[in-house]
């Protein structure tokens, strides 16, 4: 952190390897106090928790109270059979809905809370508990409710919102098909307008065009928002959404076939199913017509001419789902870390520093190295999530204009949501796994939470957008600079666009000269900025990430152009550059995440909490650089000496985090009832 500008500059020349092992001063040292310049700070847990809870502390506390009240669900997940558990989850969701916690994002006139930001806070906090409850809430209020709210108009709002907010009307979001999950523009379900009857006819075409993995479909949903290719008078207009009743009195509606998706790895409290439509008729008004409509006589109208752009505009209004899933993954990580850190503070194994008492796991350097960078990343992602949730709140609360600036804001929001979701959910998978292993065989017992955490969060990395595909979306936005053509382009189009039009802009933007200029905004040193700054200087850390992001991006653009110029098939060109594309998106998102953390710490009032979060922020930044240090060395931005120094610093930061590790997980405010693990956490 910037406060650490007293950090020594690089030791030059190549340090005698000595420095790698131990601190400069070889005095025996108590854990955490190995730097006499920095006395051990004490964490004020309630204060830190308030910082984490932010604006919506009250909402989060409401959810915490609800979670504790329904804590039995964690055991019921193990003891009830699938059918009974599904019913129990529904029951809990409805009872929670009655407290208002699940309807925060809906307009007040329909019984909602009228606060989009509050809905994210409520959803995220729910991730401390059973995740079937979380996902069922997401399906009912986020996906189904969100589609009605965002894609529909007054008539749909009046017809459905009040009942869906209470959960009286259960619905589902029927987009994905067996054959198409990521490429939803190519869905096989069609909706043909019958002008005479003034109805749409919904039909599943072909063997893989059935809807699949649809939450709430197997048992509970009465209606579905069905995404289908609209055809009017023999002409296709792309994918649109329709409200279709699928079940009446528990039985499938006429023309609708429903199958249960069966046992899943986790989330078995959610009833996922398949849907087939055999000429199912719905009235003309069933079209969710905010962005396009069909008149009685069969005239298609839309304010957005380009079908691709229209579709992505529709999808864009559903960005809240991604924001929610990212937040869910990040908060599930907190549960895992809280257990693993507390176990590490209770469990002893092997004599190490003492002949008579075995050592606490958390006093082992390797154990700190496995857990603390993940703890730091969890804090970083928490604050990054706060930023994306805040921007999403703005966009959906009328605070963003409808002009070009607003357009760019929305595109950047979508990109940020995609990137944060991808990194947040991969982080969850990795963190939960590492924490399970850090709890040894005990972590394998279901009572100790990892069973459900692992199984339930697993699909987060591929639902609401496959993470790899999402990172491509991020890269596409970066490469096209969120140009207005952004939404219309498929993969091939993007390659051609970049190779043709955009490459010069990108290349120019990412020329070494420009990169240096931009870095200089952060670090006013000379061209040796990467040598002169202290590694604990946040501006140095940010400059490194910014340099990397733009450099990779420029490389991608140049490679795409070179491939096209050489006559290769654009798809083949893309395929070969794809790992760089993903790397660029990851680098970009990592920079945004670090920025969020740095900004947060800088804004804190002075005090011990600020010092501690500064340590965590440094640990996160250096861990990011360390993980990709080969790239930095390959691109001349990291010397061998400095690379080794960074690794050494990480060890020393871990030792400084060690004495406050318990406080740092306590500040997450995971209700004790949600941790279970009676023998692990003491």
């Amino acid at each position: 952190m910037a406060t650490d500008t007293t950090a020594p500059a690089d030791p030059a020349p190549e340090p005698p390897e000595a420095v790698e092992a131990a601190p400069a001063s070889p005095v025996p040292s108590a854990p955490g106090s190995d730097d006499p310049k920095h006395p051990q700070p004490a964490v004020d847990v309630p204060d830190l928790r308030l910082l984490l809870d932010g604006k919506y502390a009250e909402v989060r506390d409401l959810v915490r109270t609800n979670l504790a009240e329904y804590a039995s669900i964690l055991e019921e997940q193990e003891t009830l059979d699938r059918e009974a558990f599904r019913e129990r989850v529904k029951e809990v969701v409805l009872e929670m809905a009655a407290t208002g916690q699940t309807g925060m994002g809906f307009p007040q006139e329909y019984g909602g809370g009228g606060d989009v930001g509050a809905s994210f806070a409520a959803f995220e906090t729910l991730a401390f508990g059973d995740l079937s409850v979380l996902v069922k809430v997401g399906v009912q209020f986020g996906l189904f409710g969100g589609a009605i709210l965002q894609l529909g108009t007054q008539r749909h709002h009046d017809a459905y919102l009040e009942d869906l907010v209470t959960g009286k009307l259960m619905g589902c979001f029927a987009m994905t098909e067996t054959g198409h999950g990521s490429n939803v523009q190519a869905l096989g379900t069609i909706a043909t307008y019958d002008a005479e009857a003034r109805e749409f006819v919904i039909t599943t075409t072909g063997p893989e065009a059935n809807k699949d993995y649809i939450g709430n479909a197997a048992v509970h949903a009465e209606v579905a928002v069905v995404f289908a290719q609209l055809e009017v008078g023999g002409q296709g207009h792309g994918v649109h959404a329709f409200v279709v009743p699928i079940r009446r009195g528990g039985d499938a509606a006429p023309g609708v076939r429903i199958e249960d998706d069966g046992l899943k790895m986790g989330l078995n409290g959610v009833d996922n199913g398949k849907l087939w439509f055999d000429g199912v008729r719905v009235p003309r008004e069933a079209l969710l017509n905010r962005f396009a409509d069909v008149s009685e006589d069969g005239t298609y109208t839309s304010d957005i001419e380009n079908p691709g752009r229209r579709f992505f505009t529709m999808l864009g209004t559903l960005v809240q789902g991604r924001v929610c899933v990212g937040g869910g993954g990040i908060n599930a990580s907190k549960v895992a870390l809280a257990i693993a850190v507390r176990y590490g503070l209770k469990r002893r194994q092997f004599e190490a520093t003492s002949e008579t008492e075995e050592e606490l796991l958390l006093d082992y350097g390797q154990h700190q190295r496995r857990l603390f960078p993940l703890l730091a990343a969890t804090y970083a992602l928490h604050f990054a999530q706060e930023v994306v949730a805040g921007q999403c709140h703005q966009a959906f609360s009328g605070e963003v204009s409808d002009d070009a600036d607003g357009h760019k804001f929305r595109r950047e929001l979508e990109s940020r949501a995609a990137g944060t979701k991808a990194l947040g959910t991969w982080h969850a998978t990795r963190t939960i796994q590492e924490c399970r292993e850090a709890c040894g065989g005990a972590g394998y017992l279901a009572v100790n939470r990892f069973t459900a955490l692992k199984a339930d969060t697993d699909v987060f990395t591929t639902f609401e957008g496959d993470n790899t595909v999402l990172l491509q979306l991020v890269a596409k936005g970066l490469l096209t600079d969120y140009s207005t053509e952004f939404e219309e382009m498929d993969q091939l189009g993007m390659v051609r666009f970049v190779a043709g039009l955009a490459v010069e802009t990108v290349v120019e933007r990412t020329s070494v000269h420009k990169l240096f200029e931009r870095v200089r905004d952060l670090l006013p040193g000379g061209d040796q900025w990467d040598q002169e700054a202290g590694v604990l200087d946040s501006d140095y850390q940010l400059a490194m990430l910014r340099f990397r992001e733009e450099h990779i991006l420029g490389g991608v653009a140049r490679r795409l152009k070179r491939g096209i110029d050489s006559g290769m098939n654009p798809g083949e060109v893309f395929s070969r550059v794809q790992d760089h594309v993903i790397h660029a998106a990851r680098a970009h998102t990592e920079r945004l995440v670090l920025e969020a953390f740095v900004d947060k710490v800088r804004a804190m009032p002075d005090g011990d909490n600020k010092v501690v979060l500064g340590l965590l922020c440094d640990l996160h930044a250096l861990s990011l650089i360390e993980a990709d240090r080969a790239w930095f060395m390959e691109h001349g931005r990291l010397t061998v000496v400095r690379s080794k120094e960074i690794s050494r610093r990480i060890g020393s930061l871990c030792r400084r985090v060690r004495p406050v590790a318990r406080e740092l997980v306590d500040a997450f405010g995971v209700p004790e009832e949600m941790l279970r693990s009676p023998e692990l956490i003491g």
Copy 2:
């Protein structure tokens, strides 16, 4: 480091980025044939399968047949309740036992197959199927049977082996306690000799001294091999093993308390439980007395004087369990890869190279990059497993002498088994996860296998030795050069030993001069060997791994010594160097694995299969170097240009593997019934 003076200075100027993008020749190319010098080889699948199956092809086929016959177990795992599934698993285990497949490792006079190597082959192959069956086999025949066979003498063999080989007598292996899993020398159960009654009295002392996580204990075991601190006449002799009846007619034996461990993340067909002993009396003959005995009058005798060494000698005879778990993890990875690769050859998403047809997942560069290095590593680990299983066979078939050489052989075997188990099981966790994600949401449905694969294999990384602890064991062996003191040393002892006695040997052995000498054995070039050799030269690849291993090892030794010399607490010194210790062990094991692969390929007759395995071997080697390329750059063994070349080569090797990917997974010979995934693999 002095060697670092040869490190390339920072790239000056930035190397022409051109080389990073596409192959030198920018000619449009069909997948896999982008190198005109290398026509696409065709794989002879049956031949390759025979190569993989090796000496024990018949045994493996017997197990495959059994697996297919009991394929319903995969569904029963989902449909039966826990109690019924446990019974079903027991039934299947017993029926398989009747075919001889589970008793291969026992002497023929007791109904076994008299071939230790065959027992590994059988066990590994079983990992294609339900893993509760696998683990129950491991518990009954490996752990329980192995303890009776290896730690017992004739009287125990006569009393138990015949019945346990058929499964008529079910037993368990009661070592781990709630309080001690890794540090089993500190177990809390005691066995006091009562000379008057000529009995041992087994007692659980203290709240965490109960046995825990013991497979077969909750329901099926009638006897347990109990590990306890032996006390004779008030004197402690360390941990010994006793045969203790724990259940009669379904009820716990007097003085024994049994509790079910309850629901686990996976492996719920195995009945794990806790055991408490309250002064349970067993006759003097219950001591498994191969390595130590107590006479009737209470005289303790052992050929091995040092208690630590005695204990580790006992443990050493149980190395087969670790060999088995490693092989199980590797083969479970094959199931995941077979499904993911076949899905990638069926599933299309997004138009890429064609305007009319969507692209196969496996034709995307990123998809190849996620799966093929894991495929290559699976082959590498398979051959490494063959080596360790072969050496284990030798050691347990009287082919290894009892002198110092034999001693060293056994210690190296233990180290190799530990390393292969750690890398093989972490590989399984990673591969199964990556394959699940590569199958998208479909991978989340239980019918598609990943549910069970993920949940069941998860504990492999921490049972039969926590992987991190195992890697420390490997490093300890390397640092002490398998000295005879090796087994006696605890962690503190090791630090002191290395810092005191061994450091000079290690430092001398890993001096730059010696390192270069050893590398020169492989690569007769000059000191520029790392610049001159082609990156596809196996000798170059091996030299790189060998250099790394020894360099890290030398660094660890020096750091330990320096810490001790500076007056730090040895435990604190160890803690700070621990990540290097782990890195050294990993580097060592990775070198052994690569050597096994290279040796295998070199021994193959010329032909297309050799060409293809050569590609895979290169892919594996370069992936290892790429993953740690930062280290190689930091230590002057990799230039920026070469580092980038390696990444590029990996992409090009992936494209060459692509056309034979299906054949490469088919050669694993996973029975179709074990893949399930009806909609994924087509």
